[in-house]
Amino acid sequence: MDKFYYDNRIARMFAFACITWGVVGMLLGVIAAFQLAFPALNFSEYFPHLAFGRLRPVHTNAVIFAFVGNGIFTAVYYAIPRLLKTPMWSKALGRIHFWGWQTIIVLAAVTLLSGFTTGKEYAELEWPIDILITLIWVIFGINMFGTILTRRERHLYVAIWFFIASWVTVAMLHIVNSLEIPVTLFKSYSMYAGVQDALVQWWYGHNAVAFFLTTPYLGLMYYFLPKAAERPVYSYRLSIVHFWSLIFLYIWAGPHHLLYTALPEWAQSLGTVFSIMLILPSWGGMLNGLFTLRGAWDKVRADPVLKFFVVAVTCYGMSTFEGPMLSLKNVNAISHYSDWTIAHVHIGALGWNGFLTFGMMYWLIPKLFKTQLYSRPLAATHFWIGTLGIILYAIPMYWSAFRTYFMLSSFTPEGQLQYQFMDVVQTVIPFYILRAIGGTIYLCGVFVMIYNLVKTAQSGEFVAEEEAQAAPLAKNYVAPAGSIWHSFIERKPILLLVLSLIVVGLGGIIELIPTFLIKQNVPTIASVKPYTPLELQGRDIYVREGCYNCHSQMIRPFRYEVTRYGEYSKAGEFVYDHPFQWGSKRTGPDLARIGGKYGDSWHFNHMLDPTSMAPGSIMPSYPSLFENSIDKVTTRSKIHAMRQLGVPYPDGYEAIADQDLDKQAKSITDKLKTENKIEIASDKEIIALIAYLQRLGKDIKAEAPKLSNQ
């Protein structure tokens, strides 16, 4: 018998980080929610950093990677040693992992608020941070596999399968989606353009949900739920079936984020059908969780931990049914770009991730401090507050989504659109307020939890090192007769890793490669030309301010969209878009063909005070654009990077790009002066942004401006 010690300090560190970042992430969410109803809360008169377009990515990144991320690591560092009967392989690597991850989070918050962003959702972090993430992720992997390879338990438990598959898939997704060409220290362009960028991004985005928010949390569930319920896991067989089917099918479903867009339809259809096939594998996890509670429902009554788990698993079941429904074309026509998607992800995030985390904390903290939970009634109160918060969050969003759809798609019998976009904005504001209240209530529940956990910790004594004993593994092992074939894989962690990678790699390869290699998938349009240097600078400002968080640039082939926004978008229009900016939500109208719709002075006034040109608008104002000068130092390297990516600027254009930039800027300021008596220096950022907006969607009408040297 070997005697050894589990290190509880690292689990405690991750647990505290998880809760702390959870509060930060949710608080930012609440602020962002209120900003949508009360634009003054953007504080953009004072500084540009807190405007919705910059804040929302911090919220999403904080909740996904900081809150849930630290939740995953808490579970991994607590459960894996116990499931394998060995301490973590390296304490030092564990510490590097912890502090590295927290550094990434802080850097993420600072850079995103400062406007350093790649403009790809949930992958907004710029290239130096991407590299840091990769390093820390590898360190995490080494530590995890070191532990697995030095284990005293012959077979790997299902929780560990999920941790391994998650680790390898996230590594693959992160690296492929983050391929980018650096321009400056904090600016890069995605390697992919337009349709391809969109496909890679949503292959990543969807599977960030799958392999960051779902599979590791299934691993978490498989450890903590049976532990808390003190019941055997319902079905080992079901574990095997749903593990492999889930990771295989999940990876294909990404294109369901791009239905009715310019993505080739075969890829869209794959996204739809694989989403439908995902229902049952997902439900396998829910069933195994809920059925494990058979015979323990009397405990659910008394134990807040199990209450949280039951609702978490139920929310998981609901959202994994809803998700595939949203992948059907005709449902997606309603839900895409609407609040329905927001409601859907929050059922997952608040219900599944949030409640599972809370349940884990209520179970884990008393264990770490060798004591009882301070107050069960308080935990039960948290449970009810949280549930209420979820309901108050979700229902207004569903309602607003249906309303929005019906309003946007109505025509008068004469054939005109019945409602202006502004009517829709006005009609959803009460729902936004309700939603923000729901989120606030949910956050209040978290504070109740923190109080309870602090009191719990104070009443006990922290067990830094927990003693355990186990026999080392015998050298020679003969599987008992009649053991199932799968147990062979469970004895071979590296094989499990490789098989997982093959299984998840398959779907990605089949969807991505043809889209890159086969020409017909992105038919070229001769009149589509690269952006002028001024427009390119303007586009980077558009990305920096996070305009894509509220505005799409993708007109779907529906009568009501074509009438409202113009000709539906074609794949060939986006070939120079590094990164693509199709967006995923229309809080404001689509901008794919905004070019030429209004005059320059309209945009000028609108950016200074949106309500002056669009009464009732909830868009923040952008006064800083009128003070900051265009960063012309970067023009050269930007054009150079674009040329490296295959954008056909003429040879040597880098050197003279700024001349074109100045010329175009001057023509815009001259026109503003003569026609509208607006005096503005031609080097201000607003001029670049106007140039970019006025270009959008024009190429297809063969109105692209000419570059020098051409």
């Binding site: 116990r82 499931l83 009967k85 438990y157 450890y223 055997p232 896991v233 080992y236 067989r237 079901l238 089917s245 339809e265 075969w266 059908v273 439908i276 096939m277 229902i279 049952l280 059925f291 509670l293 058979r294 429902w297 009397d298 659910v300 009554r301 039951v310 079941g317 609901m318 049914f321 809803e322 429904m325 059907l328 005709n330 026509a333 009810w384 229902i395 207004p396 309602w399 249906f402 798609s409 109505s410 025509f411 019998p413 004469e414 054939g415 005109q416 409602y419 202006q420 009460p430 082939p557 009568r559 209004y598 320059d600 002075s601 309209w602 006034n605 002056s612 040109m613 009732g616 509208n676």
Partner: protein, 390 residues
């Protein structure tokens, strides 16, 4: 296995759940092909949403029953008899449905630069209302189930332990549950940090529905990409546009709404007032609330006698209808009906030459201050003392 019928009937229900997207999809496609009489027909969508609502209800009911049934079987009497606080449970719902209403009431009460949504109840509102009620019922169902569970969880005196309802039996049957006492027979022998694993078979309906979803997938791909019996997105779009064109033409045939830039005439005072409302709502941003814009303003002053694209009623109608996008004037033909454009045009004609103070400097050609609408006998009021000012 003595009750095969029960098992197959339940499996069939779940198969229906799994297969319903297929029906829904084709139902919507059929609805799209069937010629609708109104341009705003969304039958397919309504059907689908109803489907979703019903299926969600079933799901909620089933999930809730897991809780309730298990609680029924397992609960035992307890001293704690505190009751579920219904007020606390229902309050959020009251708030939830009361608040948006008051929000709209405010909207409606505010002077209406944007058209009030509730002022014109339509088919859409009824459908929306129906959905709201469905969602309400579903939410109440969840809470009903939850409160039933709570009753078991905090049991009253008459809790029955031994009796299993027919539903509980059915539930055990379709999941092929092994009674808890016999669990030892299916223990896999695994023990990970105290976690044991049973080796229950996967529920039969699970396997069956999974197979159905795969069949759905194959059928879907076949229909769209091999047999091509369902329209792809651009075909779908063309069908929709064509249907709308036919419906619109038929409607316009019956209406006297086919006014255009060639036959537009100055309208009367009521229409001018209506035009003014439209103007304040949609045009004021660029042209000022009084139509005089402002010095350095975005749009030209409409109260002087200078016109960039012509000041005659025909020309103004044309400008509003088609716009001059390169000059920043957008086309409004998709936003306003021809009648509305005529109202707007009449309003603009009525303020022409009034030279409201504080406006933008003149742009375009000076047109003779002759009253273009003087020829129009319909223009009677609202424009009597304007020409004398200049």
């Amino acid at each position: 296995m003595n009750n095969k019928l029960l098992f197959y009937s339940s499996a069939a229900i779940f198969a229906m759940i799994a297969a319903f997207p297929l029906f829904a999809q084709s139902a919507a496609a059929d609805a799209a092909v069937a010629a609708p009489s109104v341009a705003t027909d969304n039958t397919g969508t309504y059907l689908l949403l109803t489907f979703v609502a019903i299926v969600l209800l079933i799901v909620i009911y089933i999930l809730g029953n897991v809780l309730v049934q298990a609680a029924t079987i397992q609960s035992r009497p307890d001293n704690n008899s505190s009751k579920l606080d219904y007020f606390r449970v229902l309050l959020p719902f009251v708030l939830l449905f009361a608040l948006p209403m008051s929000g709209y009431a405010q909207d409606a009460a505010a002077a209406a630069p944007t058209p009030s949504f509730w002022a014109t109840p339509s088919k859409m509102d009824w459908i929306l209302g129906a959905f709201g009620i469905t969602i309400l019922i579903e939410s109440l169902a969840v809470f009903y189930l939850a409160s039933r569970a709570m009753r078991f969880i905090k049991p009253t005196a008459n809790t029955t332990v031994a009796q299993k309802s027919a539903l509980a039996k059915w539930w055990n049957k379709i999941n092929n549950f092994v009674p808890i006492e016999q669990e030892v027979n299916i223990d896999s022998g695994h023990n990970y940090d105290g976690i044991r694993e049973l080796n229950n078979i996967t529920p039969p309906w699970f396997t069956f529905s999974f197979a159905m979803s795969i069949i759905f997938a194959v059928t879907y791909l076949w229909r769209y990409h091999v047999a091509q019996s369902a329209p792809l997105q651009i075909q779908e779009y063309n069908i929709a546009v064509e249907q709308a064109r036919i419906a619109q033409a038929e409607y316009l045939k019956k209406q006297s709404n086919n006014v255009d830039e060639n036959n537009v005439k100055m309208l009367g005072a009521n229409d001018i007032a209506a035009g003014e409302k439209l103007f304040v709502a949609s045009c004021a941003a660029c042209h000022g609330a009084k139509g005089n814009s402002q010095p350095g303003g975005v749009g030209p002053n409409l109260t002087d006698n200078h016109w960039i694209h012509g000041g005659s009623i025909q020309n103004v109608f044309k400008t509003v209808k088609y716009g001059y996008p390169d000059k920043g004037m957008k086309s409004w033909k998709d936003d306003f009906t021809p009648n509305q454009i005529a109202q707007l045009t009449s309003y603009i004609e009525s303020i022409k030459g009034t030279n409201v103070a504080g406006g933008k400097e003149p742009q375009g050609e000076l047109e003779a201050a002759t009253d273009s609408s003087a020829a129009d006998s319909t223009a009677t009021t609202a424009k009597t003392d304007t020409t004398s000012q200049k």
